[in-house]
Symmetry: C2
Subunit: 505 residues, 2 copies
């Protein structure tokens, strides 16, 4: 093998080790760290991030990439070519960011996170505002460094960090017909005289039993605990810490055991994608990394919604729940559960929203972020704009910023351009699900018996093991035969929800 | 302030940040990490250790130290002089070690730790032997790099990492009269017709209640949970991760709740020393660091033994135990507890040993390590030598290496020269205790009411806040007025144990 390629891969591995260390610091910050350590943790994250950045952006790495790109033997191997294409992309982008900016963003994120936590508790947007303004300034500096893609807009440069190749105009093109289909569907369901009853799952259950049930569910669908953990955090997340080390979290509410289960399914979906990437051999190389956040989200959403809100899932899971919770669970049957977990009802909180209205939350965040980046909206006007839009789209009045524009963690971390990937994930999930259920006709029956292997094996084979070899649009076409659209998701939602609401077959 | 000194301190802080990151990786490895991550963690620890080493040993740091050492303003400040003296010591030692040796020791430790874990379970010394041989070779290379202190022996060079300034000959001089006092005391107590009953504390209690009790005990004596955690690990330890972040662990056995409490007291003692060091301002500087492992151990031992095995402690703690455990605890009184936790009986396992025989365990490890380093003992002959010595000193037959030379974690981490610090800690604790109880005459009464503040405040003021400003021997003389000896510990043991065994007043 080419000596340059070997050296390049070992340099990338060193960078990946530093990033793994940073990932552990972040995970620990959210789950384990004692409160007095917060200030210093910011310094640690910042130093590790800048060390990783400096090592990766070393001109010697650029020379190695260039040497590999002209090596005749290397470029006859399609896998290597894909790897080099993505390494080149990452290096070109990273070298555009000065180390001090990377460090400042990292440190600001750690500090702003703590401020946001308290501001959310206090519903005090004024406390958080200067931090969001600082984040926005830093993100605009990032846009300057990256440059705006040809024919695009500044927002595109930020989205590129999360959904490579996606453009705001394309998001708009996908979201517009989705909104046109969702708004009437929402009205149809809410207006129906037959409403599914959410009560069966609103039951008070002890925390330790909930943890046990979540663990059994995650294990049952294929999340590997030899290479993972399940902990508790305010905002559930997945951290692909290192090879053999993917950690997920969930949260618990006394009367919300089903929310906790869906949170677990969601993160386990992310977690299984991470666990399916070929990191053991290729850590640090794009071929062992996730394609995009949209594709990542398609995995979490599919396990949470297409699987977890299906009748088959509860056919398998309800007997386990009975075993774990005993009499406290009540005696509702599978159909009661199936109806209760598919209630569609506008909710102020994104992460508590149903499969239909969730996307309206994303669309409003996308529009507001885009306006902030364009300079059409000031940070100080954000709460007002938020509240107006929630009323218009969801018909709800926002009583305080805690349940309004302070609800999400993302902006406290400086993540702007991230939100659209959630609905893109829903669209990918809808389209992938249509394909996989056609290719594995007895999937429902298998899942009802607790056999999730066929689905996981399909995802492993078609998607996970390839890392970033194929781009998101390419992956979509390879797996489903079509470019991404809203149609499959809408077909899935209508087919499931209309019978439950008695508004269709 | 001198610009050189400012720059030097900021360089040291960067090194400390990397070390903090390494400390978190280690803590996580012992408490949280999923099993499949073990191999990669070794790589991470090794990279972080070598980055920290490289940054610290940078010749530019040496130049900064030299510049400060000749700065007239700086050297008129006694604190700065102490800080510089210790920085110089550390830098001189660190620059003697090549980065590749540091990395190899770190990586070997991580891997050997996993091997040792399994070897101990399997009682399979043969599996661990090559790793111990490798560690010994690496440690001998370290000796070569450090050089043997004048008039000393190779073992001294290793001990210097743990107990600066201590020499094997001095340890021998301290241990010999200690042994001469302990052997007859042990015989006297074991031979007495009156034996305290260990049964009162051998009670089966649920794990979650044990955790709750340990937490209340640790909190009660002054361990700060806003700046700390208490978790579970096979081998209990304390990790001073970072400013505001000191983590302790304990372990649980179904019938061993009192062992778990003592383990917690021990680690909380270490933890409170770490929490009392002025890290918030001085992280990375010797003035915020512990003096030596012997002094560290004096803190853990004092809280575990002088405090925790006293009548006052149980006068306070027993009502709390009753509250936490309820009827399952039984109805033994304070005196039953006081007797039960002071049983002296030779035990194969060091960490389960009483205050008297524990020191015999340390002496044998010291002698065997010294023989290994001198080349007088081969690693392959270690189990035999160990078993012989246990029989001679403690009158016990070692049934397998799991309960013999594989019982301790230290050698798997390449720590040779570490063990003597345990008994040195006992000696320091004995001598400090004699002083503090004379200086605070009503300490017993306070502790019986759950007031541990006077003791902690004394330790904070006299010891913790000074970091490494004074050496261990200097600290001993400053606080107790005398150089270290075995006498105070023996006086304390005889005064406590003879009445319990009916062999003296």
């Amino acid at each position: 093998m080419s000596k340059s390629y070997k050296t390049l891969k070992s340099r990338l591995r060193e960078v990946a080790i530093l990033q793994s260390t940073g990932a552990l610091l972040s995970w620990d910050q959210e789950t384990m760290m004692p409160p007095d350590a917060a200030g210093f943790r910011a310094e640690e994250l910042s130093l590790i991030a800048s060390l990783a950045h400096r090592r990766f952006t070393d001109p010697a790495v650029g020379d190695l990439i260039a040497a590999c790109e002209t090596d005749a033997v290397l470029i006859s191997d399609a896998e290597v070519v894909a790897n080099l294409r993505e390494i080149r992309r990452d290096w070109d982008r990273a070298t555009r960011l000065p180390a001090e900016l990377v460090a400042e963003i990292s440190e600001t994120s750690s500090l702003a996170l703590e401020v946001w936590r308290q501001a959310r508790i206090d519903s005090d947007f004024a406390a958080f505002r200067p931090w969001l303004e600082k984040h926005l300034r830093l993100q605009l500096r990032k846009v300057e460094c990256y440059g705006v893609p040809q024919g695009g807009e500044p927002y595109d440069a930020l989205m590129e960090d999360y959904e490579p190749g996606m453009r705001a105009a394309e998001v708009e093109r996908l979201f517009a017909p989705l909104r046109d289909a969702i708004a009437p569907l929402m009205a149809e369901l809410i207006g129906s005289s037959h409403q599914p009853d959410p009560a069966p799952v609103k039951v008070k259950l002890p925390g330790d039993r909930q943890r046990e049930f979540n663990r059994r569910v995650a294990e049952g669908i294929g999340y590997d605990f030899r290479a993972g953990r399940l902990d508790t955090s305010t905002h559930p997340f997945t951290e692909g810490v290192a090879p053999g080390d993917t950690r997920i979290t969930t949260r618990y509410g006394e009367y919300q055991y089903v929310e906790s289960v869906y949170s677990t399914l969601h993160e386990a979906g992310h977690g299984m994608y991470e666990q399916g990437l070929p990191k053991a051999e290729l850590h640090g190389q794009p071929l062992s990394e996730a394609i995009s956040l949209g594709i990542h989200e398609s995995q979490s959403r599919m396990w949470e919604n297409q699987v977890g809100r299906g009748r088959a899932f509860w056919t398998w899971a309800l007997p386990i729940a009975r075993e774990v919770f005993g009499a406290a669970l009540g005696d509702h049957g599978v159909d009661d559960y199936y109806a209760a977990v598919n209630v569609v009802r506008p909710n102020l909180i994104r992460v508590e929203s149903d499969e239909v209205t969730y996307n309206l939350h994303i669309m409003l965040r996308f529009d507001l972020e885009r306006a902030l980046v364009r300079g059409d909206l000031k940070v100080s006007d954000l709460p007002g704009a938020w509240n107006e839009r929630i009323e218009k789209d969801l018909g709800l009045v926002v009583p305080d910023d805690r349940r309004g524009c302070l609800q999400d963690i993302h902006w406290s971390m400086g993540s702007i351009g991230y939100f659209p990937t959630y609905t893109l994930g829903n669209l990918y999930a809808g389209q992938l699900w249509e394909t996989v259920t056609a290719e594995i006709p007895d999937l429902e029956e298998s899942m009802a018996r607790g056999e999730f292997d066929p689905l996981l094996a399909w995802l492993r084979d078609k998607l996970h093991r390839h890392g970033r070899r194929y781009s998101a649009p390419e992956t979509c076409r390879r797996l489903t035969g079509r470019p991404l659209s809203h149609a499959a998701l809408i077909r899935y939602l209508e087919a499931k929800l209309r019978p439950l609401y008695g508004t269709g077959p």
